[in-house]
Amino acid sequence: MALPEVKQSATEARLSALTLPESGCLKAARQAALSRVQTMGLPSRRDEYWKYTKPDTLVQADAPKAAVFHADEVPMFNAFERLNIVFVDGVFDAEASDDLELEGLTIDRIEDICCKDIHWAKDLYGVLEARGQTPVERPLAALNTAFASDGVAIRVTGKVSKPLNFTYVHSDENSDAILHHVIRVESGAEVTVLENGPAASRFNKCMEIDIADGGTMHLVRAQGRDHERRAATHLFARLGTESVFKSFTLTVNGVLTRNEAVIELTGDDAVAHIAGACVGDGDFHHDDTVFITHDAVNCESRQVFKKVLRNGATGVFQGKILVKEGAQKTDGYQISQSLLLDDDSQFLAKPELEIYADDVACSHGSTSGAIDEEGLFYLRSRGVPHAEATDLMTLAFLAEAVDEIEDAEIAADIVSRLEGWLARRR
């Protein structure tokens, strides 16, 4: 079917500003992705999946300018041992990064996949993204696969002793970065991946994660807080038998963020938890779009999303649990909640369940509310000043999402970032 003319021309305008990178053995994957983009067309606001988030600035040919925010605070995830991998405006910075060597894993840049003949990565690049295009199209992810200019391929073969920490530095106010990472967690292996930083004025990031039987991956990210930055991120994860994938995302500021997570539970007894907390003030639009497919027996999935919104900020949640025929004993849970600190802010939620198995337990809930006045008065009656009491109540609201982070040190880092945000708004 031919694309509507408006969509066609918008897609062409965007594509004409890009060049397919030279990349030997990934060429086929990139070209296939390009033709997916051409067939689907880039998102427009008429698309059902983009009903609550205007994709215009994510799609337009040039990235809108975004000032670099100079924070004089301690970088995230700084207090513990980790292996640092640094990208500046979407380009790997070897100097700022540690040696990419650590027992239990290998790290290569995607541009080296071909010359080093890294088979597993060739077989993964663009594959989960392509699978994730049905039943809902995600053209920005296909665009990413086609045009990603950098990224890494990580293969985890053992229990890794310290987290990998990606820092995405934003230094150019016109930067437009496309990064693509592929991660393969082998059977019984375990890794924690951290990500932080705004990355670029406009950031399109895709992460494909393939977790083999009994593998475990924790992902914690803190999306940078440059006020004008924009980001569209995709997380594609495929989980084997008894594997575990747990992710948490903190979003503080940023004019536009769309985080999609597409999770496929393909092996029995697998566990996937996807959580997020965001705090937005003013010109802030944050969209969590999650699609979890249960395609095996006795798997557990959990979605916990909390948003604090004020001064006209907007939060969006589109979360779906699809339980396929035969995926019996599925345990699916989904909660999305917003705390609206004034009448100008809004939260748009679309929770969905689609179930084709008859022996499952799935629940979902979504709420929007103001701060609990009773609780506020209780705290104040004990001498806690209004602003501090409001902050305590706000942190308490976010706690259920933050509690999804298993590592106490990492969680503490996230909480201190939230406290900083609140304190600056007193």
């Binding site: 609990d372 006045e373 009773e374 609780g375 008065f377 209780y378 705290l379 104040r380 009656s381 004990r382 001498g383 806690v384 000043p385 209004h386 501090e388 009491a389 305590l392 109540m393 942190l395 308490a396 609201f397 976010l398 706690a399 259920e400």
Partner: protein
């Protein structure tokens, strides 16, 4: 300590006058009890004094040690030495009881220009005071009042009172929802805080709490006014004759 003069209070949202001229003076070191039938304005009095929204003072005054408290924010009243033990303590999921206590104690110290307690001194003090109220470490860790039984909630109120060391303690139906043993425990906690420098206002329906917290003065509040004031024997009279009898007498 606390001096209330001709206090008139109505609900903010509707034309309903609740307190119609309350006069009351609580001296330091004394325990005053306020008894009264349902709807007499007992809880309103406690809320107005602690600064809850939704009430409008149309006339009269309330002073704590000579300071007008009605113009103060709730947290300022707390810092000035006012404490209300809630009839229904509020559950706050996500805020640890210990964090809550520490934030409150430190906020009051700060408001009064005093030094904050060190973490270890604070911990020592909380543990000692919690022990006498039979509050275990687990309860201190849990979110404020979440999943607490009725008795645990009330003991938690008294623990807060003990930690904050207020000048004036208002107990709003602290006996409601308590069995005899729990009531004794709470009363012991309150009695341990009785002190020459501290005043108490104990609001209750029933005389039984006053068996354990012996009042110096008993007031009967009815129809938004204090209609009778007497000694502890007045509480017994209520117990024996009910409010109807006393009110008929006063009419």
């Amino acid at each position: 300590m606390l001096e209330i003069k001709n206090l008139h209070v109505k609900l903010e949202d509707e034309e309903k006058q609740i307190l119609k001229g309350v006069d009351l003076k609580v001296e330091a070191g004394k325990v005053h009890a306020i008894m009264g039938p349902n709807g007499s304005g007992k809880s309103t009095l406690s809320y107005v004094l602690s600064g809850r929204d939704g009430y409008e003072v149309t006339e009269g005054s309330a002073e704590l040690e000579g300071e007008d408290i009605l113009e103060m924010e709730p947290e300022e009243r707390a810092a000035a030495g006012m404490f209300l033990a809630f009839q229904y303590p509020v559950e706050i999921p996500g805020v640890g009881n210990m964090t809550f206590l520490r934030t409150a104690v430190n906020a009051q110290h700060k408001a009064r220009g005093e030094e904050e307690l060190s973490a270890s001194d604070f911990l020592k003090e909380v543990r000692a005071k919690a022990k006498t109220l039979k509050i275990d470490a687990e309860m201190l860790k849990r979110p404020v009042n979440v999943g607490f039984s009725g008795g645990e909630k009330k003991r938690n109120e008294i623990l807060q009172m003990a930690m904050l060391e207020p000048k004036l303690c208002i107990l709003d139906e602290t006996d409601s929802g308590l069995d005899v043993d729990a009531m004794k425990l709470v009363a012991e906690g309150v009695n341990a805080l009785r002190d020459e420098g501290r005043g108490f206002l104990v609001i209750t329906h029933y005389q039984r709490l006053l068996d354990h917290i012996k009042p110096d003065v008993v007031h009967i509040l009815a129809g938004g006014r204090i209609v009778k004031t007497g000694g502890p024997e007045l509480a017994l009279e209520v117990e024996n004759n009910g409010y109807a009898g006393i009110l008929a007498e006063e009419a």
